[in-house]
């Protein structure tokens, strides 16, 4: 009996008259890489935002690490070990890559109400931050301001920030979005290394990557979970093929 890390129970979200999350029930098990796929506008990002606490839910419940977090603000969920990356890069542009990641480390180690000591000299922040940067292949770019990184490097930085939070669950919203062939391959390799170390909910349009990485896949269409199962089951599901995979695979 493994307790799921994350459990969504009948989750709802409406934008005006538009139902964007429609009774979503989903479980993420310890150690699994769970992919969430679906066409544009299906509500994947919305669901990630509900789980991370940036969007309030209109109904249903979210359990994380055995606790009901439905009404918890995002910062407290982050403290519990919920880390997310953003589809549209969301880093601190004026901070260096290292500072971006060090801030994520700082959030989870010791008080941030320290007013005097220079944070950039703190080994306890810089070393774990460097380790996370090395993990995604950004170590050599540590001192470059995030604003000056290339798009692919920013995607890698998003990942490093999430890693540095010592997460109990990673929510990755299209980590490869907009990257070229080579960078996509590099990021897939990074995800493969991370697999098993952290449970992950991975939103991704790249089906080659999804079927190569995922332990289980859920398909979201118009805010509903259409199917959920192993890659083989999902690939064989005729509903999924007509609704989504047919077009994506060609």
């Amino acid at each position: 009996m493994t307790e799921p890390v994350l459990q969504l129970d009948g989750l709802q979200k409406n934008f005006g008259g538009l139902r964007v999350t429609d009774n979503v029930t989903l479980e993420i098990l310890p150690g699994e890489l769970h992919a969430l796929i679906g066409p544009n506008g299906a509500g994947k990002t919305t669901l990630i935002s509900q789980i991370s606490g940036l969007l309030p839910s209109d109904g249903g419940r979210i359990f994380f690490a055995g606790r009901d977090v439905t009404r918890l603000p995002p910062d407290l969920r982050a403290h519990m070990g919920l880390a997310r990356s953003f589809q549209i890069t969301s880093v601190l542009p004026g901070f260096t890559a290292l500072e971006n990641v060090a801030l994520a480390v700082q959030a989870h180690s010791g008080s941030s109400y320290r007013f005097f000591a220079n944070a950039s000299k703190e080994r306890a922040l810089n070393e774990p931050a460097m380790a996370a940067l090395a993990e995604v292949g950004l170590a050599a770019r540590a001192d470059v301001r995030a604003a000056h990184l290339s798009h692919g490097e920013k995607r890698a930085l998003e990942l490093a920030i999430a890693l540095a939070m010592q997460p109990k669950l990673l929510l990755l919203d299209e980590p490869m979005a907009g990257t070229g062939r080579e960078e996509t391959e590099r990021l897939v390799a990074v995800l493969r290394r991370l697999k098993g170390r952290f449970p992950m909910l991975l939103v991704e349009h790249d089906m080659t990557a999804v079927f190569a990485l995922a332990d289980r896949i859920s398909v979201l269409i118009y805010g509903r979970i259409l199917a959920s199962g192993s890659p083989a089951e999902v690939r064989a599901d005729p509903q999924v093929v007509t609704a989504y995979l047919g077009e994506e695979m060609e």
């Binding site: 991370s52 606490g53 940036l54 603000p73 995002p74 910062d75 407290l76 982050a78 403290h79 880390a83 997310r84 953003f86 969301s90 880093v91 601190l92 542009p93 004026g94 901070f95 290292l98 500072e99 060090a102 801030l103 994520a104 700082q106 959030a107 989870h108 010791g110 008080s111 941030s112 109400y113 320290r114 007013f115 005097f116 000591a117 220079n118 944070a119 950039s120 703190e122 080994r123 810089n126 070393e127 460097m130 090395a134 170590a139 540590a142 001192d143 920030i161 939070m165």
Partner: protein, 332 residues
């Protein structure tokens, strides 16, 4: 100790930038420290009081730069803190309490309390709303002071004599008082500089850059902003304490919205988010005002457009200009 050089060593090995940022502050504080030495060859008491006044406002401007330049919190009510600090000195003095070791803590506590109470409300808002509501609280403080009939109301309150320090009338000595202000300004500068680079400062600056990201990292940015607002308020109170002692007078005009606006102009003129700029901008503003008003009675017709032009065309303020001239970057 074997692991003393991890991968960090290669990134940390960039010494040239280390001391580059020190030249400007050393120059600034060097000049202020030398003023009394040079002043003895001229009209000493006039110069000491003029430059002392510059430093008093620079203290408040430093705190304002902390909010505006590192937190994007454009406070239009900053003069209220100066006024509250000044009234603490005035009111205590009227009741016979003339000891700085009492009036300074009271000034700091009163302005910090006001910052905390108003910050709870102001910091729920953003952008233009924040500007408007800080302005409103500033006006509230102004009208409250105007209606304090026992303490002079509109006319203000004359203070019998400067505060004593440990019972000794040291502040009556103009040079001693000048260096006391100097020490306060230096302390404020070092404090603000430390805060900016601290763990706290990182969160505060991060909140300015990307609030959503900060929340998903686990920071409740509101609390950090409130703490910074209280610190800035207390520093404003210290400025007010010094101002009341310098002028031996307090009045509601100390917290007028015009004064708050002038403080913002000082910071913008010097270059926001540099701290050095807050001091340079204050000095430029007050010295220019002094010089022009001595030149012609229509000085405001020159001063106003001048400020507008400076703010419009001098991107990065005076410290930005200095950076371009000397080719250095006082902030990276």
């Amino acid at each position: 100790m074997a692991q003393a050089t991890l991968p960090l060593s290669e990134t940390a090995a960039k010494p040239p930038r280390r001391y580059a940022g020190l030249a400007v502050p050393i120059l600034i504080f060097g000049v202020f420290a030398m003023v009394p030495v040079l002043a003895q060859f001229g009209t000493e008491s006039f110069l000491l009081s003029l430059v002392g006044r510059v430093m008093i406002f620079a203290i408040a401007a430093l705190a304002l730069d902390l909010l505006v330049g590192y937190g994007a919190l454009v406070s239009f009510g900053h003069a209220a803190f100066i006024g509250i600090g000044a009234y603490a000195v005035g009111i205590l003095s009227k009741h016979g309490v003339e000891e700085a070791m009492i009036s300074l803590p009271v000034a700091l506590a009163a302005s910090a309390l006001f910052a905390w109470l108003t910050g709870i409300v102001c910091l729920r808002t953003r952008g233009v709303y924040f500007i408007m509501i800080t302005l409103a609280f500033g006006q509230m403080a102004f009208f409250t002071a105007s209606s304090l009939a026992p303490y002079g109301g509109d006319d203000g309150l004359t203070i019998a004599s400067r505060n004593t320090l440990f019972g000794v009338p040291l502040l009556e000595n103009d040079r001693f008082f000048y260096y006391l202000i100097f020490t306060c300004m230096l302390g404020t500068y070092l404090l603000c500089r430390a805060i900016v680079n601290s763990r706290f400062g990182r969160v505060f600056r991060g909140a300015m850059e990307n609030e959503t990201r900060m929340a998903t990292l686990g920071f409740e940015v509101y609390r950090f902003r409130l703490a910074a607002y209280v610190i800035a308020g207390a520093i404003g109170g210290m400025s007010g304490f010094l101002l009341a002692n310098a002028t031996e007078f307090v009045s509601p005009a100390y917290m007028s919205w015009q004064r708050s606006g002038e403080l913002l102009i000082m910071v913008i003129l010097g270059g926001i988010g540099t701290l050095n700029g807050a001091i340079v901008g204050t000095a430029a503003f007050l010295l220019l005002e002094e010089w022009l008003s001595g030149l012609t009675e229509h000085w405001k017709m020159i001063f106003g457009p001048f400020l507008v032009l400076m703010v419009l065309f001098l991107r990065g303020g005076l410290s930005g200009l200095a950076d371009r001239i000397f080719g250095s970057r006082s902030r990276d």
